[in-house]
Symmetry: C2
Subunit: 212 residues, 2 copies
Amino acid sequence: MEIQLSIPRRRGRPPKLRESLLETRDLLLSAGLEVLTEKGFSATGIDEILRRVSVPKGSFYHYFESKEAFGAELIEQYASYFARKIDRYLSDQSLSPLARLRAFVTGAQAAMARHDFRRGCLIGNLGQEMGALPETFRAKLQQVFADWQSKFERCLVAAQEAGEISPHADCKQLAAFFWIGWEGAVLRAKLEHSAEPLKIFERGFFAGLPPG
Amino acid sequence: MEIQLSIPRRRGRPPKLRESLLETRDLLLSAGLEVLTEKGFSATGIDEILRRVSVPKGSFYHYFESKEAFGAELIEQYASYFARKIDRYLSDQSLSPLARLRAFVTGAQAAMARHDFRRGCLIGNLGQEMGALPETFRAKLQQVFADWQSKFERCLVAAQEAGEISPHADCKQLAAFFWIGWEGAVLRAKLEHSAEPLKIFERGFFAGLPPG
DNA sequence: GATTTAATTAGACGTTCGGTCTAATATAGT
DNA sequence: ACTATATTAGACCGAACGTCTAATTAAATC
């Protein structure tokens, strides 16, 4: 939980060849991710993030223009981190396309379990909070979902080609359906501190796929 | 948007036979519901609610012990209001059980549209926020979902008895699946300011039901 | 090696918010 | 008339928010 800096930061311009060129900045981002996935954007104060990693406020506003800018960068980081994660699962040629989707779901469950179902999906969290967030976030969040969905869509098409699901299935719709529901499941898993909602959604989704 | 009191409130003990016996209190609750479904609990300040309805702080803390108590009451109010709404739809004997479920979904879509998809579900909103909320809310929220789900479950059993879905279907699971996903759809509809996610989830859910 | 420039930390600052508390006011009850 | 009760009014406090300026240190320049 407590990330700490290897070498305590000092004032002033840092030496050029230190190992911690972006350490403080990254430290803030990773602490921010932790807290935001747990408590959301509005409920989280900069001070809390700062305290967690023993960084003074000045540093924060040195690296980020504002809380909003910080959030925007977190979205980008998280989105691409997660996109890579999806790609890793969905490109596993040792599994059938449908099995890859299942593998992703299983992996995501394990990931939530690792944090005792206390952390959700940053994108889902922020989406829920949009009413209180800078409007600039909306498009970003929508785009992230669109991206994740398109990855799923491609995998579903592959499943179709492999005869795992009906050739008449609308893969785009199915992919959207998955992500709409999955975020609900993550939300609920956080509320219940349990894997059950994730499992129920998994079962429901795969059982509902039109057989090939 | 701006609810206003019929007669401006005055200081002092109010006359007994006024029409506004609980007006101020109700005013606060309904304004609170509006704001909380849009922005969530943490992002909303008491002051904002008070300003909206031109009520001074003294009144708030006269009627409610704390923000937490206010939230708890909102949950109860909303939960039972919504439970009645569900009951109304699911007890409509002029429709088949499955058609009643569809009617509920359609009605909920219309309700969201009425607020331009800016307001979500209070229970879902608070569930997402749990990481930053008083822990006493958790059990309440879980119970509300359990309640709503059990209503759905009963209707699904009726659908089963009517031969609309497979007799082997696990109605409890299906009901849970619905509410898990539906909350995701509401979240997403709010993010996109669109009915599309609700429709996609509706299609996906009903298409996935095991035929009778 | 003195001086300027760039990078980073330190923390003061003003504002807002949640919650408390006291006073003021008005009606009800006796 | 007097007391009790209900409600509004808003000052006040401590904590937290986001911003901003100053201080400090190393690099770069000459």
